[in-house]
Structure formats: C-alpha cells, structure tokens
Symmetry: C2
Subunit: 425 residues, 2 copies
Amino acid sequence: MSILIKDAIILTQDNEREVRKGDIYIEDDAIVEISDRIKIEAEYTIRGKLVMPGLINTHTHLPMTLMRGYGDDLTLEEWLTTRIWPIEKKLDKRMVEAGTRLALLEMISTGTTTCSDMYFFEDTIASTCKEMGMRCFAGFSIIDFDTPEMKKEMLLPECEKFIRRWKDDGLVTPVVAPHSTYSCSPETLQKSAELAEKYDMMLHTHCSETRKEVYDVVERYGVRPVEQLEKNGMLTEKTVLAHCGWITKEEVRQIARAGACVSHNPVSNMKLATGGFTPLPELFDAGACVTLGTDGAASNNKLDMFETMKFAALIHKHHRWDAQIVTAQQTLDMATVNAASYLGINAGSIEEGKKADLICLDTNMPNLAPMHNPISHVVYAASGFNVSSTIIDGKPLMLEREFHYFNKQKILEDAEKAKNELVSD
Amino acid sequence: MSILIKDAIILTQDNEREVRKGDIYIEDDAIVEISDRIKIEAEYTIRGKLVMPGLINTHTHLPMTLMRGYGDDLTLEEWLTTRIWPIEKKLDKRMVEAGTRLALLEMISTGTTTCSDMYFFEDTIASTCKEMGMRCFAGFSIIDFDTPEMKKEMLLPECEKFIRRWKDDGLVTPVVAPHSTYSCSPETLQKSAELAEKYDMMLHTHCSETRKEVYDVVERYGVRPVEQLEKNGMLTEKTVLAHCGWITKEEVRQIARAGACVSHNPVSNMKLATGGFTPLPELFDAGACVTLGTDGAASNNKLDMFETMKFAALIHKHHRWDAQIVTAQQTLDMATVNAASYLGINAGSIEEGKKADLICLDTNMPNLAPMHNPISHVVYAASGFNVSSTIIDGKPLMLEREFHYFNKQKILEDAEKAKNELVSD
C-alpha cells in the first residue's frame, strides 16, 4: 500500500522539533520520503493538512466504553463498588469485543495510533486491536481475585500462554499487568515481574491513584506503593505506572532511578476527585519518562487524547500558579515521542524510516484559525474531531473521516446491545 | 420560517429537568409545540437527535480569535503586556469584524446560542452578531485609557449612543462594561453604573481574576474588588462579574445579597495560571447565580462551551477532593437555565412558548455511545463537534454541520488575512 500526503504542515517531533512544510510518501508500514515536492503516484493521496505523529495513550481499559456515563459524580471507591464491579461481573467475550471495537473506533477517529490497555479478556482485546489495525500494548491483568473470565490461580499461567501467542506480532505486544500493590500480594507481584523478565516483556500497573490506596499499602506492608513495587521486582525500565498522583519526592527519584515510566491521567483523576496530582515538574527534573493516558471511558468519559493534552497542560499551570510550568511542546512530547521511545516503537515522530503511525488534521475549521503556531493549536485549540485521517502501520484506517475497513454503524449498534445486556437485571 | 424536529431525545431543562422523547415544532422565533407526534409540514425537518437548549457563554471577547495561540504559556500580566496589548493597538474595525465573524462561526458550530461579549469597537461587534444571527449581550468597554477605537473621554458618551442605537433590538442587547476595578477609577465606575441604571441596562465587568489585582485594589482603595464595586454602585442584580477567582466568603455573601451574577471561566483561568478559583460550592450555597464563560479565544484557546462545562465540573471535583461537589446537572444548569434567567431571555429551556434557541447533537458518534445517561454524555463525553444543528431565534444557522447563511471559507480567509496584518511590523 502507498500513501502520498501533499502540501502538509508537518509537526515532525524530531530531535529539533522542526515544523516544516512538504510532502510525505508512505509505502507499506513506513515513512519512505519527506521532501519539498514528491512526484510519485500513490494509491491514496491526501492534501493540505497539518500532519503530526499519531497520539499514544499509555493507560486505558478499552471495553469500559460500555460503562461510559454509567455512574458519574462518585468517588473512585463508590464508583467501583456500587457501579463498575457489579456490572463487570456480567462481562463476557462478546461484550468485551463490542466495547473494544467502540473504543478503537473512538480512538482512531480522534487521532490515537497506539494504546496501552489493561483489562480482563485481554486475548479478545488483543485480537480485536489486531483485526481493526490498532497498535496495542495489551496488558493481561493479574489480580488476587477471580475475574469475570477465570479463576485467580489461572491468571499467571494463562498470561504466559498469552505472551507466547502474541510476542512476535507486529501490531499487538503482550504486557504483564498486575493490577496494583493493594490488589496483588507481594508473591503475585514477584511472579508477574519474573514472567515479564522471562520473555523480556513490559509491565503495566496502577500506582498511587488515591490517598486511601497509599495508606492501605503503608499499613499492610510498611512501605509506600512505589517502594513496594521496587521490593518485589516490579520497578524496572520496562514498567508503566498509571497515575502516581500521591507519590513523594523520594518516590519520584526511585521511579527515575529505575527508569520506569509514568502514565499521567489528568481527566480521570479529576473526574474521580482522587485529589493528589502527578508531580510532573519534579518527574521532569528527575529525568523520568512521563506519558499521557485517558484511563477507561467510564471515568473520563471519552478517549480523546487531544482533550487529555489540554487538561494535562492546564491543570499543572493551575496547580503551581505558573503558566510556564508545562508547555505546549512538553505536552505534545509526552503524547508522542516520550511514549514511543519508552514503549520501544519506531514511531512518535515523522522522519524517514519511521513507522507510518501518523494523523492529519483539517486546519480549515474555525477552532484552528487563524494560524499563529501549530504546536499551540494542537495542544490548546484542537479537538479529536479535527483529525481527518488516521494512518497506523501505513494503513489508512480513517480518510476524510470515513472508515475504510470497518462498519461504524454496526459497531455503535453492537455496543448499545452489549450495554443493554449489562444493565438488565 | 418553520422547523420540525422529529423523534428527538429532549433535555428540556424545564423546572423538573425532564428528559423526554418527542417532536418539537418551531415557528418564527418560538417553540410552538412539543408532543409525542407532530404531523405538520415544516420548511426544515431534523430527525433523531438529542435536542437541548443552546449554550450561553457569559464572558468572552469575540475578536480575540485573531490572537488564538499568539502567546501561550505566559502569566496574565506578561501575556497582556508583551503579547496582547501591543497588537491590540493595531486593531481596526475591519479586523474586529473578521475576528468576530470567526468567533461566531466557531460558537455556532459548537452549540452556543447566546454570548455576553465585552471589547472595543462594540458597535461593529453588535452589527456582526446581528447580521450573523447570534444572540448577543454586547458590552461596550469603558476604561481609563485611550482604546484602539477612541479617546477615553469619548467612551461614556459613545456608550450612551450605543445603548440608544441597540436598546430595542430583538437579538443584540447593549451592556455597559467598565473593564475592572483596577483599570477604572471610582468615578468611572459610578458613571458607568448611572448610565446602566438610566436605561435599565446590564453591567459587565472583570472582577478578582488575579491575586495581584486584588492586592492592587486593596492598596489603592482600602477595599477588595467586590466591595469597591458595591461602594460605587456597580454591584446590582443586573451585573455580570467575570472570574471571581480570588473572592472571600464575605464577598460571596455580598454578591449573593446584591443578586449579581458570576461568570466562571475555568479554562482561561487555568491556562493563565491565575491560581485562585471561583468558589462554586460557596456561591451555590449562598444562592448566587453562577454561569459559565470561555473568555476570549486568546486565553482559552477555543470557544467550545462543551469543553468549558467539562473543565468546570472536573476542576471543582479535583479542588475539593469531592466527586459530587459540582454535578453534571448543576453544570448544565449554569450553561443554560441559570444564564438565561439572569440575562432575562425567554430561553435556556425547551418548553412551549420559549424562544427557539436550541441545538441538536448527533449521538450516532463513537464518543456518545452507548447511551446510559444523556445529561452525563452532554457534560462529560460530548464535544462541540457533536452539534449537528444550531437554531437561534428560530433560524437554523447550522444544519447537519452546514452553514446556510454565511460563507465559512471567506470567514476563515478574512481572519487569516487580519491576523497577518496584526502581526506584521
């Protein structure tokens, strides 16, 4: 397959963060050429857009689109115990597939080209991502409870099978995802870490999302969550820590020393009123890798990474009474190059030889006019709805807001049906 | 003109906050009938949407779209002195018109049906709103400096002429808008208040946006901004106070007692890192009227009231560590019924006899599926881009995202040209 993008404004996100004009030629899964004028016939031609690397969402729970708007204005604990957990018990493969398809449709239509998921039925999620063409780090959840899918003692052995099944796939990368330090025993954490190490896979876990969680872990184990992860082999240079809203300066240093990565989820944290906030400036200063996530649609309530970028930049300005503390460029870096580099994918910037994971924005829209500064526009003025085309692994999954490989209507209807089954008595 | 909306889910925002299904029939500027099935032929027919009152933006500076993205990541003071004020000096009528048109295009396309503006060249802004069909409370700025339009001593007499010219218009309502307590002397405030009283017009001013402003006013006048307004006749039941981020509990009580209205602008306040935050729960408890605004596009950087609703609900949950403190319903009320009631327009809810200021959302989109709760979807999951049709005063300004009365392309091009003139040396 070949795609030619003509007359683009390109936010390269290369080392110089160059913004340039030019054409881009894509063949198969790669960006082959970027230059002032390319005269090649391609299968698809796109004209006159703002082109940027696709956004990378490092923490989500794809099937939770089915619970979008089912229980708002509740604390995390109430939300989980009275709303989410009771209906999660009813989930089956078919519903998970319907919810995942809806999530991918939303992500593709709003410019996300890679996601890092963790949930139950992860094999179903992985297959759905593969089939729809989403690059996915699929986190197989490990937890000390029975899940809607299987008994707890089956989780680690099934996770190993899952890794073997997916480890050589080009689009889906299996990840070991012990849920958290409050829901996994030290033994479970250790075994998860060993499993990840055995296959050289990544780890993904929740860390210090709420204050209660921190003090529960301190009470039970005498250490805070980050130290608990470290003690049990989970704090590695291949670990994604979601949230980190309640970490100390010492934990910031531990994370940076270990080379772990933080996934900051501002919208979900604010909506659930988790109170504490990921200390971005301190993490930056310590040299830690920081990326962005939406969390699941049930606590966000959407999966639009443009919105997440804006919330991320603004909440920290507000928090520190400092309008310069997290800039537009730093925010865009978190959602593109930082995440790609941490996850080890040859994407996140638009350069020859990189994977063709990129998006085109229609700047001919009121909210992106006039054009002073494209970086500013992308972070502060754009919406996922400005995305006109989404290309993942060289495949044009959306072109001029039309989906070429899947039936939008059927996906929306299936999700509605699955939701009705979930909430029926 | 007549419009029939068939098979709608209607967020009525009536006294019972009823959500119902049905048809809506609009004739001329009014909602004539709402019932289960209406069999009337109408000029326009819309089908199967979520219908809600149009959103009301109570604080903006329309022409500042021209400065969208021109100077980000700066404090309010730096932003004003190094970026905004130097180029504002170059503004002329033609540029103001171009910027206003762009703002209205953006607002209409994202579901705003009434705005409360304040700027220079307000007569030009008023005419542009009238021509494009936007319901506007046009605030003629009064300030103790010469403006790009006229000498300071001309402002009050010109404002009076402006009031006479517009006071009987059905779409544009003139408003007296002294800029703030730090930029207007007591005498200017008093004369503004007298002028408003003489014609029974509303007042609109900035109030306690930054901490510096508060302490400057305290140092100069010995009282805080709200008391300074009260002392000078400006705190009335027809006053809109933008921001109120740094007000005390006593000022909350003063505002409520006077029956003044607060316009909360969360996105702009966060972006400019003004630090303090409008005390919504205390204002609600005191019975004050609270509404929402975007502020100008230069400090937001868009004019999407859906985004503003989400920021408003989430920042307070985060601030108070309480997910219930500002609910989806309260947020929607601020942006619809509260504002309409304060401004004295017969709109803000969908009921027979009300003005036809309403919007239709296309729920057949990934971010609004599945449907558990439409109020939740509107506040937490929707974007202005979900708006498919916008009707103001019974006129369908946007239908299925097409503009029927103006040339989008020309508006975008004129704004780009005006911007180029503004930033050229």
